[in-house]
Subunit: 279 residues, 2 copies
């Protein structure tokens, strides 16, 4: 099957590599608004050819949207009226606004809202990696609004990529994503700014930073073009989790200020329970 991938960055590029390796894509037709990314996608062998949007969609059996979430709605309004047999799927980190946009389009039933839960802090075609997605979760949202054959194709793709499938309503997805992904990025951005703001002797950071700091601050390298729209679309859930997170930090702060180290120990013991969940 010819696969059209719109957005040849971290996710689109990694998807291109995986779909070809698994024999699902006989050819990858790339679409990208950025001329440099078009060139890189060809040079890196992610796409067989780069085309304009309408021509690429017309030729493909499957269209994958791998663009920032604020670009998905407009693309659906452009693409869905053109399709009948094709399947359109997205890969974005928020699902409620995407599904709302899709619901306002003709041929909504050819669209499947999905979120493969994998990523790195890097972006662009050069960030694409082989064997991404393996052992991660792929969420399919509101599947009753998509044609069964369209859902079946996305299931076959994610299973071939080594992912396990989860089915959720879009609203539940966005709530869970705020907890297990979006808040981690916010804490990491804030941590980077904390250290950059206060620590003027940058050599000391560089020399002393051990594994702990690197892992908590790694996500702060993530691309704002991707993350601002995610926070914008998932604002209510993210604010809810962020308020709780600030309140948890203030509890720790209060323990230090009042020298209540027994309670601090209890808070850390409670945090240790994350071991039950994450091995």
């Amino acid at each position: 099957m010819k696969v059209c991938i719109i957005g040849m960055g971290l996710i689109g590029g990694s998807m291109a590599l995986a779909l070809r390796e698994k024999g699902i894509a006989s050819a990858v037709i790339g679409v990208d608004a950025n001329p440099l990314h078009r060139q890189q996608a060809l040079e890196l062998g992610l796409a067989d050819e780069m085309r304009e949007l309408d021509a690429a969609v017309a030729e493909a059996g499957l269209v994958i949207l791998a663009v920032p979430v604020n670009a998905v709605g407009e693309l659906l309004r452009q693409i869905l009226p053109q399709v009948n047999r094709q399947v359109i799927m997205d890969t974005g980190s928020t699902k409620q606004q995407v599904c709302a946009s899709a619901n306002a389009c003709v041929n909504r039933n050819r669209f499947v809202a999905t979120h493969p839960m994998w990523g790195t802090e890097h972006s662009g075609p050069a960030a694409a990696v082989a064997n991404a997605f393996v052992n991660k979760a792929a969420v399919i949202c509101n599947k009753e609004q998509s044609d069964p054959d369209a859902v079946a194709l996305t299931e076959r793709i994610y299973t071939a990529l080594g992912m396990h499938l989860l089915y959720m309503e879009a609203a539940a997805h966005d709530l869970h994503a705020a907890y297990v992904s979006h808040i981690s990025h916010i804490t990491s951005f804030a941590l980077a700014n904390t250290v950059l703001e206060k620590e003027k002797e940058e050599d000391a950071i560089f020399e002393l930073a051990s594994g702990g700091f690197e892992s908590t601050v790694r996500l702060a390298k993530s691309n704002p073009a991707m993350w601002v729209p995610i926070f914008q679309q998932n604002k209510e859930n993210v604010l809810d989790v962020l308020n709780e997170h600030i309140s948890q930090l203030r509890k720790i702060k209060s323990c230090l200020e009042k020298e209540n180290f027994d309670y601090l120990r209890q808070l850390i013991e409670h945090a240790n329970e994350i071991k039950r969940i994450l091995k």
Copy 2:
């Protein structure tokens, strides 16, 4: 040289493995207050024998303290009066109170205050790993208060372990450690508690948690017996950094509340500058 290691946990155990592998320790004499850890240290081959404190110190050429930082002062008061030729070094994550304790002891000059900047979120003898410490920084504090031969021995050890040496005043160490290590642990503990508090459907966390969440929350598995004393001893610096961190989170919160997504993008772009420092 016979090496006495007091505290056969993550750091002491990993140090035992490395010192023997590098041919620096002809034998490791372990000391540990925990009977289970004494047994495990022998079973895992970390120590050749486990002894009582005074007997172990008397027999060793080098004594390494690898205990929670709140236990270092009392150990120095016990050990330093017994030594003359031996070198005593600690490995703790705070240095000001340790140095203050040492300064009040006889034979202060036989003690070297050090901090090998390596660790994991695991603890106990079973957490010890071979080839720890490689390519990390080892900080030696207030070295002018230690005999040159004692400093030279610690330098030889950390260099043999593949570490690069940094020299700092204890006060500067504690400030930098608050930025590059202690705050990361606090954000991680608070993030774990945020998610545990708010997210009742634990299966969803387990299924959805991707690499980003795992890396930011990993440190939340860390041992309170080690970390509460660190926060206690470095309270002022940690509070200072924590206040800045909460203020950075509130800036992001305010952007979301006011839908000021231009400023949010600027904050994220600023956070991205951490790339300059951490490759």
